[in-house]
């Protein structure tokens, strides 16, 4: 398996500065079950919000809350493990204050 270097930055702290209207009931991004590990690692590398995580034991996790709605994961893995990518439902999602 390919390597991801140690991550020293906590992006969640940065996301806490952003304004969101989180849609608790509806995930606008869904992955396939048993996602291929190499494909998942691609998303660990490219998601600017660091929503795709892998811990030391190799356990993967993904949370759509905090999404910046850039679509990078769809372009990187839309043909493989990203099963669904829709815009969040009305008035939901990130709301930039500067942009």
């Amino acid at each position: 398996m390919s390597k991801v270097n140690e991550i020293t930055v906590n992006v969640d702290e940065f996301l806490a500065l952003d304004k969101y209207e989180i849609d608790e009931e509806n995930a606008h991004i869904e992955l396939v079950e048993d996602a291929d590990a190499e494909e998942f690692l691609k998303l660990v590398r490219v998601c600017p919000a660091a929503l795709y995580k892998i811990d030391e034991a190799g356990v993967t996790s993904f949370d759509y809350a905090g999404c910046l709605e850039c679509g990078t994961c769809r372009i990187a893995c839309g043909g493989t493990i990203v099963k669904k990518w829709d815009n969040p439902r009305p008035t939901m999602g990130v709301e930039y204050r500067f942009g």
Partner: protein
């Protein structure tokens, strides 16, 4: 022509969408804009700087009313390895000349102003709802949009949905951009007092700098860092090609790259003491001419980033001027087609003709081979910054030992890389630039 709810529906209110709405509404058409953000710019992000020439054609007095952050009068390009930086700083009165000037902007304020211009011209707005589908008739002609289970009809739909082209793919059959054609952008905004920014960048009041960085900022991956001075903040970030950043050969996630970039000895002092206020992400179409999809359809035209209209030359990054210009050309063609009673692909072809005769398609076509040249020029991102560091050290460093002549200090640095190889790479790059 069939009865419709509006003459024109515009999907998205970024630079392209708002300008299209303004242009069509000013020509007397009934216009509806459907924007998925709860306010203008809520979903938008730029590096960013706009070259003003196209905006000036739409709004001749934009300087006095648009929320511009700073006029960019300093252009800086920096080559960095992990511990060094070689930067050039260019300033001239021409950079500030009307029609050639450029401005740092923040999109929430800037897009808010653009939307207000469209609204003042008579365009109606629906905020906070994403269009889910382009509605077509039996022949495949686009006749409206579906949003939140409502169908709204129009003579023509202008699609300005941005860099992530969901509707263009799903409803118009355009191909999904490839990972090699798209870059991921990540940016943070740091607040600093106005005078501190002017002091740190050696700029007069109201003016500012644009910086592009190559090398260690992306840990040698295809891409680069950027910095723009706003009035009371600094936009700092980087872009990296989605394909190379995702690749197993790259061990550093983009957010870690940004964090490392921020602590680089040449960058950390710029943001010292600044308050981080926003973290953002956005894609950038960087495939150039070869990624431009079909953009004229029966009852529909595509503008701005959705049409792949962006150009990253390494020393110059453009997108918003293409968005504004394409939107104006599209809206003019749409108005003409509605007046002529033919909104078919053939009836809307004036848009494509105008685009092909304009700087938009001409520039993208001239630099058509550049995206691939850059993608395959890995030494630009890895070894050149190191070579430049070695040259800088050979030139400037004095330790008291007897020095060889300059050429003797420089030649080994070049020779160990192969003079012929370097010359060939340079020639190849110059050819596509």
């Amino acid at each position: 022509m069939p009865e419709t709810d509006f003459d024109v529906i515009v999907v998205g209110s970024g630079c392209a969408g708002a300008v299209a709405a303004y242009t069509a509404a000013t020509a007397g058409k009934s216009v509806l804009v459907v924007e998925r953000g709860s306010c203008a710019g809520a979903k938008n992000m730029t590096g960013g700087r706009i070259y003003s020439h196209a905006l000036k054609k739409v709004f001749p007095d934009f300087e006095s009313e648009a929320p511009l952050e700073r006029k960019i009068t300093h252009e800086r390009i920096a080559l960095m390895d992990a511990s060094s930086q070689m930067a050039i700083d260019f300033t001239s009165s021409e950079l500030a000349e009307e029609g050639k000037d450029s401005y740092a902007v923040l999109r929430v304020a800037f897009d808010g102003w653009l939307a207000s211009k469209a609204e003042d011209a008579g365009a109606e707005y629906i905020w906070g709802i994403a269009v889910e589908e382009l509605v077509k008739d039996g022949s495949g002609k686009v006749i409206g949009v579906r949003a939140d289970d409502d169908e709204i009809t129009s003579q023509v739909v202008i699609l300005a949905e941005g860099a992530n082209p969901l509707l263009s793919e799903r409803c118009l059959g355009n191909p999904r951009p490839k990972a090699s054609q798209m870059a991921v952008g990540i940016k943070q905004i740091f607040e600093l007092p106005e005078s501190v920014i002017e002091d740190r960048f050696l700029c007069p009041k109201g003016e500012g700098a644009a910086m592009l960085f190559v090398g260690d900022c992306t840990h040698g991956n295809v891409g680069g860092g950027f910095l723009y001075t706003n009035r009371e903040s600094i936009s700092l970030g980087l872009v990296a090609s989605v394909s190379t950043a995702a690749d197993g050969a790259n061990p550093t996630p983009v957010y870690q790259m940004l964090e490392d970039f921020k602590s680089h000895p040449a960058v950390a002092p710029i943001i010292k003491g600044a308050k981080l206020v926003e973290h953002s992400g956005h894609m950038v179409p960087e495939g150039g001419y070869d990624m431009i999809p079909k953009y004229v359809f029966d009852g529909c035209v595509i503008v701005g980033e959705t049409a792949g209209l962006c150009m990253n030359m390494g020393y110059q990054v453009r997108g918003m001027d293409f968005a504004v210009a394409s939107a104006q050309m599209a809206a003019e063609a749409v108005v003409g087609a509605i007046d002529a009673g033919d909104v078919s692909e053939e009836g809307l072809k004036a848009y494509r003709d105008a685009m092909e005769a304009s700087f938009v398609i001409k520039d993208l076509s001239t630099f058509r081979t550049w995206p691939r040249t850059m993608e395959n020029w890995s030494s630009m991102f890895t070894d050149y910054p190191v070579m430049v560091k070695e040259m800088g050290n050979a030139l400037f460093s004095v330790g008291g030992a007897p020095q060889a002549r300059l050429v003797k200090r420089m030649m080994p640095i070049v020779k160990k890389r192969g003079l012929f190889k370097l010359a060939k790479e340079m020639r190849g790059a110059l050819k596509s630039l």
